[in-house]
Amino acid sequence: MNTNPEKTAATEAATHQVLTFVLGEETYGVDILRVQEIRGWSAVTKIPNSPPHVLGVLNLRGSIVPIVDLRKRFNLAQAEYTAVTVIIVLTVRSEAGRRDFGVVVDGVSDVVDVDAAAVKPTPDLGSRAATDHIRGLVSIAERMVVLLDIDRLIGSQIVEPLESDAAAQAA
């Protein structure tokens, strides 16, 4: 991985580092500062009555961290979980405070510098596709990378449906 901390500091305003990973045919990117760690797949403990894309929870150095399957979240074809399946542990910040969670991806690719100016807005795909969780698109080595806004991706999906579930049950 071509991480270069000095360069980051110098060009912070204009560029930021992004961790890219592969999911099926597509390449996605997340802000490297939100990445806690990358670890191999291990069996998770299921959470009863959780949304389908929440696989379960794992013990991450003493805290209990939910694991989200991005394939299910993005309605992609299912893949087998094998020893080479990778979990990226990310941090989101919402009104409720800081939360850690892991996403299951096919593989981690690279850490790249992304020039803020090179990020293109997501085209309007009509009402068919929710694009709230996409911060923009960027082209890296002739591949399109989808930059994710994980606060929106998870902040709005892992927490809220659950609370409304709870509210529905209480009612």
């Binding site: 403990t45 959470i47 379960g56 150095r61 209990i64 969670f101 892992i158 659950l162």
Partner: protein
């Protein structure tokens, strides 16, 4: 210089609340007839430091109120104001008002300005009443640091004190003014100051925020060393100082030995920390968050260690034995580490008991009863969270004891008892539980009255004759009260059920013993910590769940014929003559079980909120103590699950919320 003072607010509030507690404790210790000067000094110092802090942070209400309070206390200290029950009441009320004011300043509550103004007025009246008109104004103003008795000019025979003062670098930048310090010292007597300028650098090199001077002071005063040291209270840590007694003109003491002044205290150390309550100092303030992090990390170490132990058992070869003995050593060390870290969160129950002397005094006064409160086992330690949540139930029990238990003095005399009733609060450890007992020597629970009440409300059939224990149980029912007339203290029937619910929510239980005419005893048994629960592991399919042991009644195997269907309302099993709803955990949690046939698995009868259900699981595993982890931190609430824990192999198991599960079924049945 713009320093954001807001960052210190939290520390100010925390210290002030603690200081108020020690002030309240000190006031309650005061003997009206012969007030202890030391105690009055403690109280004065508390008021003074709160006033100082409030002034600094611009909490004008608090500063103004404490100023009045301080004036009264100064009068008491100087003997101008006579300490009467009335004055003591005023002082205790002031503690309450100051708490309110502090909470209001914190933004957590509002206060009643009228009440504050009234009390402030009363305080002023109390000051004025006892103050001889001549001695008035200057002494009040001199309340800055003055130890009133010594404020008089020193007589020539007073001892001579040599004080050397050397400011540290940050004295000026912390807003301490040496001149004010000297002014405070000068109030004790005749002061001569000599400054040394030898450390002042060349003009160009001077840092204007630093103080380069040091001083040698000579104070001729009858004040004690402690009174003199009080002037240094605010500069503690910001300057080096030494107070030595040089011997008095009349009786020259050996100059080399610092002759111990009357209240022989080595230095101002103990007095320098006005907020410090009992205990021999040496403590630091650490946020609970940091401790929890530490506990987490140690928990991880425990898991890693047990993983290594499993691996170590498999190793063979020449050094295997040494590896294993090393691992055994590690295990011992880790266990000790774990225990000591858990102990960090533990606090003595004395913190919860400390409010009772005051409460008992007030309640007894209002009811016209004589109560002697006995506290035992205040040093017994328990988890901070448990400690915080046990306070209210205890208050309730103690109030009940005074209101319902203890008789009026005349009634007691008739019964051949001493006129003053005793309420005894006792705490001790038993196994991994803490036991708190509230007992009294009052009239005891009246079984007949409770039974009559229960019959009249249809809770007990006319033909039934329940056992004594069963009758005592009745008082835990919601809305049950035997009081003929509700008082403002107790007897409204909202109470014992809440007490029991609170205690259950802490994973504890409460028992009653009572003898007519001799008194009653409420025994609360609580887990030492909320961070750990005794659990029974059960498995359903591939999943392992933890059922808190406290909610398990019994585990049994049920034959297929033992399960009955109730049309569409679900299944029931027969258990000791009752029918209990059967909850299939695999259905509730959507897990694939080993078998759906009831006779292939086990039924765990659990109890929560006074209701019993049978939980159908595949199998039971071992019992173990598990550390409770939050699911909510990173995920959210899960119905039927109270938390999670990490098992020995590092995997996660969910802990069942039994009352929650039971509630969810009764809702389902209702729907």
């Amino acid at each position: 210089m713009g320093i954001d003072l807001a960052q210190f607010h939290e520390a100010f509030f925390e210290e002030s609340f603690e200081a108020l507690e020690s002030m309240e404790a000190a006031l309650l210790k005061l003997d009206i007839g012969a007030p202890d000067a030391e105690v009055i000094n403690t109280v004065f110092r508390v008021a003074h430091s709160i006033k100082g802090g409030a002034g600094m942070f611009n909490f004008a209400d608090i500063a103004s109120f404490t100023h009045t309070l301080e004036t009264l206390l100064d009068g008491v200290r100087a003997g101008r104001t006579h300490l009467t029950t009335g004055v003591l009441d005023l002082l205790l009320k002031s503690v309450d008002v100051m708490r309110e004011l502090l909470r209001a300043a914190q933004g957590k509550a509002s206060f009643d300005p009228q009440r504050v103004a009234d009390l402030q007025f009363d305080l002023e009246v109390a000051v004025a009443k006892n103050e001889p008109p001549t001695a008035g104004a200057p002494a009040t103003e001199a309340a800055i640091e003055a130890a009133a008795p010594a404020a008089a000019p020193a007589e020539p025979h007073s001892p001579l004190w040599r004080i050397s003062v050397k400011p540290l670098e940050n004295m000026l930048s912390r807003g301490n003014e040496p001149l004010a310090l000297f002014a405070a010292l000068a109030e004790h007597g005749e002061l001569r100051v000599q400054a040394f300028v030898d450390e002042v650098p060349a003009l160009a090199a001077i840092d204007p925020h630093r103080c380069y001077l040091r001083w040698q002071l000579e104070l001729r005063s009858g004040a004690s060393e402690q009174q003199i040291a009080e002037a240094f209270e605010w500069v503690e840590g910001d300057c080096d100082y030494r107070i030595t007694r040089a011997g008095s003109a009349a009786a020259p003491a050996a100059p080399a030995i610092p002759a111990p002044p009357p209240p022989a205290r080595p230095a101002a150390k103990a007095d320098a920390a006005p907020g410090a309550s009992t205990g021999d100092a040496g403590s630091i303030r650490v946020s609970v968050g940091k401790i929890d992090e530490l506990i987490n990390t140690v928990g991880e170490v425990v898991i890693t260690q047990s993983m290594l132990a499993q691996l170590g058992a498999l190793v063979e070869g020449p050094s295997a034995e040494r590896l294993r003995s090393g691992l055994a050593q590690l295990e011992r060390n880790v266990r000790e580490l774990h225990e000591s870290v858990m102990r960090v969160r533990m606090l003595p129950i004395g913190f919860a008991f400390s409010r009772f002397p005051r409460l008992v005094r007030d309640v007894a006064q209002r009811l016209g009863k004589q109560i002697e409160l006995k506290l035992t086992g205040e040093q017994t330690e328990l988890d901070k969270t448990v400690l915080e949540r046990i306070g209210d139930p205890l208050v309730h029990l103690v109030r009940n004891s005074i209101d319902h238990g203890i008789e009026k003095p005349e009634e007691r005399l008739e019964a051949g008892k001493p006129p003053a009733g005793t309420v005894h609060l006792e705490a001790f450890h038993r196994g991994s539980a803490i036991i708190i007992e509230v007992s009294d020597d009052g009239r005891g629970l009246d079984c007949d009255k409770i039974l009559a009440k229960a019959r009249s409300r249809g809770l007990v059939g006319p033909a039934e004759t329940p056992s004594e224990e069963a009758i005592f149980e009745l008082i835990f029912l919601p809305g049950f009260s035997t009081a003929d007339q509700a008082t403002d203290l107790s007897g409204r029937g909202v109470g014992m059920d809440v007490v029991r619910r609170n205690i259950k929510s802490l994973g504890g239980k409460i028992d009653i013993r009572s003898a007519r005419g001799r008194g009653s005893r409420f025994t609360i048994s609580l887990p030492l910590t909320l961070a750990i629960v005794d659990g029974q592991s059960v498995c359903v399919g591939d999943e392992t769940y933890i059922v808190p042991l406290v909610s398990i009644v019994e585990s049994l195997q049920v034959k297929a014929s033992g399960v009955n269907r109730l049309s569409n309302a679900g299944e029931v099993i027969s258990f000791r003559g009752d029918y209990l709803p059967l909850l299939r955990l695999h259905e509730l949690f959507g897990v694939e079980p080993r078998s759906r046939a009831v006779h292939d698995g086990l039924v765990v009868v659990v109890e929560g909120d006074g209701q019993r259900v049978g939980l159908f699981v595949d199998d039971l595993r071992g019992q173990q103590q598990v550390v409770i982890k939050s699911l909510e931190t990173n995920y959210g609430q899960v119905p039927g699950v109270s938390g999670a824990t990490i098992l020995g192999d590092g995997s996660v198991a969910l802990i069942l919320d039994v009352p929650g599960l039971i509630r969810s079924t009764s809702r389902r049945e209702a729907a």
